[in-house]
């Protein structure tokens, strides 16, 4: 698309924001019942007696079975007739058709966020109301170029009590050209790991020791000055001779950040990174773990451990020292 065509396309597609997904609230085909709850829990491996054990639930403070909150979306699904008859036309169907007709035929559900406010018990009716809440600016992702759209659903019972809400995010994109029969690459099944430090002449020994659970600090063999990150020459006396000492990983936080955006595959969030002053006198960069960001402050005492963080990565991580 030219920039002008993109602009014209976006004007039309953004007009779908705020459109209802179907007319009026939709009532689930079946009211909340123990048979469907039992089947859902069996598939999900859910064993909470509040959902599946009639006797236990009868003696509980509630006195009755409740439906798993995460199941709220199941009650109002259209059912199998969607596969045979298609969905009746609504705001979302029209928008998806519009994306498809402009080449954005790929669909990828990316996130579901649910919030729960009240419980549903056996016998309750579930009603859903949904709108197209937002459409992002054009994004370039590993899957291709496209737009994220988000729907917002409210679930209520027969008394109008809000049970929960759901945001569902879908990426509509131009699929890269590929042979239909091409087998899925094994890469796509691999769990991403952290971006590894390349190991060269001046740093391989440090990372090899880290793999063995030891954090070493380079020491000048001539004048004894410690240095980190490692480098081949002492900046104090210019000697190229060196050995190492092992750090006790006792430290104090000198500065820190919390990473929010962009989020990198292979990293766990919340992600805190600190500059740590080690007791030996050098500094090291590492993740701060085992505490809430609200409790992190410059000057706090830390204790490091060398730990495996993913299938391929072993790193020092620092915990509050009083833990």
């Amino acid at each position: 698309m030219t920039p002008e065509q993109t602009k014209a396309f976006e004007e039309k597609v953004y007009a779908f924001v705020g459109k209802p997904i179907y007319t009026g609230p939709r009532r689930g085909y079946d009211d909340v019942n123990s048979a469907m709850i039992r089947q859902w829990c069996e598939v999900m491996g859910e064993k909470n007696p509040a959902y599946v054990d009639q006797d236990w639930a009868g003696k509980s403070t509630r006195g009755h079975l409740i439906a798993p909150p995460a199941m709220m979306y199941a009650w109002t699904q259209e059912g199998y007739k969607v596969a045979s008859e298609g969905r009746p036309t609504d705001g979302q169907v029209e928008m998806v058709k519009f994306f498809d007709s402009h080449g954005f035929s790929g669909s990828l559900g990316t996130n579901v966020d649910q919030e729960y406010f009240a419980e549903a018990k056996v016998g309750d009716a579930i009603f859903e109301e949904s709108v197209i809440e937002s459409i992002s600016e054009q994004k370039t992702t590993a899957r291709g170029i496209g737009y994220f759209f988000e729907t917002y659903a409210k679930f209520t019972n027969q008394d109008g009590v809000l049970l929960g809400t759901q945001r569902f995010r879908v990426f509509k994109f131009i699929p890269p050209e590929q042979e239909e029969s091409a087998p899925a690459s094994d890469d796509s099944l691999e769990i991403p790991t952290r971006v590894a430090a390349p190991r060269g002449q001046d740093n391989k020994w440090w990372w090899d020791a880290c793999d063995e659970g030891k954090i070493l600090i380079q020491r000048c063999a001539s004048c004894g000055a410690l240095r980190h990150p490692p480098r081949p020459m002492c900046g104090v006396c210019q000697s190229t001779e060196w050995d190492t000492i092992e750090s006790t990983l006792d430290g104090e936080l000198f500065s820190f950040v919390e990473m929010h955006h962009p989020k990198f595959p292979g990293y766990q969030y919340p992600l805190l990174v600190g500059v740590i002053s080690l007791a030996e006198g050098t500094r090291i960069i590492a993740n701060i773990v085992g505490c809430d960001v609200k409790d992190v402050e410059i000057g706090m005492k830390l204790k490091g451990k060398v730990e495996r963080v993913d299938e391929k990565t072993i790193l020092p991580q620092f915990y509050p020292a009083n833990n």
Binding site: V195, S255, M259, F264
Partner: protein, 391 residues
């Protein structure tokens, strides 16, 4: 023999291309347009140019541009490394060339498809086969791999030591957006924001919100440097380069100098400031306006301290007293800066600083502007220049 370059060179022509998110043209074309227009702005012909300077990061070869624009023989070419830290380094190289007779007319340029091509915000993840890879390897496994994250680390430390830093960061972002809102060339023309927008803006890396971070831009900027003598007879009033310096302070890493005794300041810029003031005979009191590199809001604070406009840790107060505003002590980043005009690695800042001395800024302060400071990117080896009216 010692040569003092002060007063020996002048900026005679400047130009920017259109700034956009998708230029639709090659970087060679952006560079050629910026170079051509800067030469024309000087009232010179391409064949008058005999020198060129740019960033090592620039993807476009000098000789390719020379062929495209019709520049003839080149007797001087030079590249400056370290990303945005090169900005005034281009002028630094050109000044030395003209002051020493290596060239008579040098064009400095930078052009990039920074949004539609390679995006700096994508960080240093991915295949890296350069010598820099070892250095980044001390940070990437922990996820510390974007420019915002490195600068945020210094900022958190600064917030620990100084007062009212977040309010000052808002003031910087806000004042610059107010300027950009009145600058038709700025990306954020007619798009102001207020404190509630700032507070609600998306967190990037604590303590940075989105509005503390510069944008990504397609565009180009160029500056022509010639002798002060020749500049006298050209189209615009001469803008004299009174001082220009580059510096990399001791114990430096590119963006991650976390190992110095204190990290809440910019020692490289302290050195550049001292050198430029010594060359020019000027001091902070003589500077009427500034274009200060602003990839992220707090780096403006530390540079104000480096250039002596206030004491260490006092920059938040200086800024909150309204210093950067049009009627303030030091109108700063009057084009909107890289937060709100465009992100051309500081070279659009040299264009704006030149315009301020000429009296041609779209947000020209009411007071007389004799001398203007312009700086390069920080966290990397950096530099700065003092531009002004002829004495």
């Amino acid at each position: 023999m010692t040569i003092n370059v002060s007063g020996e060179a002048a900026i005679a022509g400047v130009a920017n291309t259109e700034f956009s998110k998708n230029s639709g043209v090659s970087e060679l074309e952006l560079a050629s347009v910026a170079v051509r227009d800067a030469i024309a702005d000087a009232g010179l012909k391409p064949s008058d140019v005999d020198g060129m300077t740019t960033f090592t990061l620039d993807n476009t070869d000098e000789i390719e541009i020379a062929r495209a624009v019709g520049i003839g023989d080149l007797s001087f070419y030079s590249r400056v490394p370290h990303g945005g830290g090169a900005a005034t380094g281009l002028v630094h190289q050109a000044v030395m060339a003209v002051a020493t007779g290596m060239a008579e007319v040098v064009v400095c340029y930078r052009a990039l498809n920074g949004r539609s091509g390679h995006r700096y915000s994508s960080g240093v993840a991915g295949p890296l086969l350069t010598s820099d890879a070892i250095h980044w390897g001390w940070y990437t496994p922990y996820g510390l791999m974007t420019p915002a994250s490195w600068v945020a680390m210094y900022t958190q430390r600064y917030m620990h030591l100084a007062e009212n830093v977040q309010d000052a960061m808002f003031e910087i972002a806000h004042v610059q957006r107010e300027y950009a809102a009145k600058n038709p060339a700025a990306f954020f023309y007619e798009r102001p924001f207020d404190r509630s927008d700032y507070d609600a803006s998306r967190p990037i890396v604590s303590p940075f919100k989105m509005l503390d971070c510069c944008m990504e831009t397609d565009g180009g900027s160029a500056v022509v440097v010639t002798t002060a003598e020749r500049a006298k007879d050209l189209k615009h009033p001469a803008v004299i380069v009174k001082g220009v310096a580059q510096a990399a302070a001791a114990d430096m890493e590119s963006m991650t100098s976390f190992y110095r005794p204190e990290i809440a300041r910019i020692p490289s810029m302290d050195i550049a400031a001292k050198m430029a003031y010594e060359q020019s005979g000027l001091c902070a009191d003589d500077i009427d306006a500034a274009v200060i590199y602003d990839a992220f809001t707090p780096i403006v604070l530390w540079q104000l301290e480096s250039w002596g406009f206030c004491d260490l840790l006092e920059a938040p107060k200086f800024v909150l007293d309204g210093a950067m505003r049009s009627d303030g002590r030091l109108p700063t980043n009057t084009h909107g800066g890289q937060l709100s005009e465009a992100y051309i690695h500081g070279v659009n800042g040299i264009v704006e600083a030149t315009r301020l001395v000429r009296g041609q800024s779209v947000n020209q302060p009411a007071k007389k502007v004799n001398n203007v400071l312009v700086t390069s990117g920080v966290g990397v080896p950096t530099g700065g220049a003092l531009l002004g009216r002829p004495d």
